[in-house]
Amino acid sequence: MDLESVERLLGSVSLFDQLRPDELARIAPRFQLLELGEGQALEVGDAPCEQRLLILLSGGAQLEVTLGGRALRSSLDPGDRFGDMALVSGHPRPFRMVARRPSVLAAIDRAGLERLLHDFPAVALPLAGELSSELRARNDAVRQLLELHAERFPADELASAVAERRRVLSRQRATVRRLAPRALFRRLVVEPEADPPFWMLVGFVVALALARLTVFLILHYHLEAQLFALVPGKDSNPVHVHHFNYGLLLVAAAGLAALFPLGRRALRVLAFSFGAGCGLVFDEFALFWNLNPEYARASSLVASAIAAAVLAQLVYFGRFWHALARRGWRGLRGWR
């Protein structure tokens, strides 16, 4: 593989995508190029000096990480990498990489990476971000394990839960870094997805779209009697349980669960449920506003658009509004 192709491929890896072409040309020769034939394996042991950052430049490979006596496999495509966390933390992670087809890998050891960081400190920016995410996952694991030990659960259950955590951690430690997503996708999806409002917006849009589509299909094909939840009673007309009631139930359940301590993942699930619940409620806004079952009213759409706009502001301009509110609050206090 010629150096120009290596430079081009390194430029698509998130660690190096901020470098200029001339800088890429200067870092490319620092990598050792390894060629693996189909089925050929590369082993990296648990000695710190053996640790390598490996970036797959072409072909395809399978990564095998053995942790706690269990082998975990992931496949690598061009641009994917593994080994940087072990290299930076000095906590070795032995692994084996087997080529699925003829492949070329770029490899760099700890000393090489240190020199690279010294000469091209811009590489440290994305690396620090990735390290933070990794460290956060470990801190979560420490916390969960501390809780398990502190709760004094029965010994069998504790052992079983610790084994489960071990499996989850092994999967995290064997995670392959994928090729960097495109800038727009990263700005719109990857960056805001850590915050609950993003999941609220996703839940809202998904539920609203599904509800609109379902009701449209039911009304279009006259399936009301079969598919609407109609509960007969002593009245001449049955009670139709409108889907805003299911939405309210979802919002209430998410709100109650969120009052008690949560993990980050649970928070995202609850934020999604909340958004989905709001989507169902706003889809039938006109119904409960007017106490009239006429579905096709513009006020539902207007209310839904306003709710979606508020959520989008929270997701993409949350910091701006927060800063504005803080400045306003300070001004108010000063005025008083």
Binding site: V88, S132, R138, V162, L169, F244, A252, P293
Partner: protein, 342 residues
């Protein structure tokens, strides 16, 4: 919390002790000081809360702070204590993720708050800060990996449980029951939601009863009550997902209980209003629209009973359910593994 924007910070010496700022020379440190704000916190005041979003970086200039996390059962565990020269919040600034622990002032604390934009600018203009951060985070990651391995191998490192206010054991009496069931739980979120629910339910039922008896504004009152309930439920549920400060969450829990009561009390109205319509396009002329008839349907009472049951469980029995759920889940997982293995 008192905020002041210092002219030139005399404590550059403290900033030089912060690992990732130590690489900067005095002039750059002075610039960081000038672009940041100094904030004072009183003992016990929360500086940042677990699961809150926020991307500012804090440097302790004076005093001591405590880093702690809350367990699923509601206990608080102290992770560490930080003194002058320590920094926190830099991970959230790097990733934009939510804070993974709470930080509270143990003494009078003076902190330098570096805005996210300034920290971004600093990392981009002075990449050696990012390199120092990589080294610092690498060391922390290695430490966390070692701790995880120790804990997985059963060498439990005890988190220091912070003292929780508990009732002294005394003989059974009504006053003890009152103290344990109400007074000691007055800050518990589940209890506040329950209390808000019961109080609002009684109040609204009394108001609606009076308005029907006097024949004034009954339909406006009912419509106002359920619409307020919808809005309050949405706002309180959203806030509970976005705010993690204790005083704010107590207000949120109360609002949540009030919202549930307002909605469930008028459930007959919002659930069955279309019994007066033949279909979604035609009002049924044989059944005149009567909001009092809707209000007197029996569904609300059943729903209120279910809600009371859920809120009582949430207020008094959630620890039991958590333990029971944990044991059940692990036993099911073991049984499943045995079945799959077999």
């Amino acid at each position: 919390m008192a905020v002041s924007r210092g002219p030139a910070d005399p404590r550059l010496e403290v900033l030089r002790r912060v690992g990732f700022l130590a690489v900067l020379e005095d002039q750059a440190l002075a610039e960081v000081c000038a672009r940041s704000r100094r904030v004072r916190y009183r003992p016990g005041e929360r500086i940042l809360g677990e699961l809150e979003s926020g991307a500012e970086v804090f440097v302790v200039l004076e005093g001591r702070v405590e880093v702690s996390v809350e367990s699923g059962a509601g206990d608080r565990y102290r992770l560490s204590e930080l003194e002058a020269g320590a920094a926190f919040g830099e991970m959230s600034s790097l990733t934009g993720e939510l804070h993974s622990a709470s930080v509270d002032a143990l003494t009078e604390v003076e902190a330098l708050v570096i805005p996210d934009s300034e920290f971004d600018r600093l990392r981009e203009r002075r990449p050696e800060v990012a390199v120092a951060l990589v080294r610092l985070l690498g060391e922390r990651l290695a430490g966390a990996e070692r701790t995880v391995d120790e804990l997985l191998d059963g060498r439990a490192r005890e988190g220091v449980a912070l003292p929780a206010g508990g009732a002294r054991l005394r003989r059974g009496s009504i006053s003890r029951a009152w103290r344990e069931l109400v007074v000691n739980r007055r800050r518990d979120l589940g209890f506040l939601a329950f209390a808000g629910f019961v109080a609002t339910l009684l109040l609204v039922r009394a108001l609606v009863y009076l308005s029907f008896r006097l024949g004034v504004m009954a339909s406006d009152l009912l419509r106002g009550a359920y619409l307020t309930g919808f809005a309050l439920l949405g706002l309180s549920a959203a806030s509970s997902l976005l705010t993690f400060r204790d005083p704010a969450r107590r207000v949120i829990a109360l609002a949540y209980g009030i919202a549930c009561a307002l909605i469930l009390n008028e459930l007959g109205v919002t659930l069955a209003f279309d019994i007066f319509f033949k279909d979604i396009h035609t009002a049924d002329p044989t059944v005149p629209f009567d909001i009092e008839r809707l209000y007197r349907r029996t569904e609300p009472m059943r729903a209120v009973l279910v809600a009371l049951l859920v809120l009582v469980q949430a207020a008094y029995l959630r620890r039991f359910y958590r333990r029971a759920g944990f044991v059940l889940a692990t036993r099911t997982r073991r049984l499943w593994a045995r079945l799959c293995g077999g």
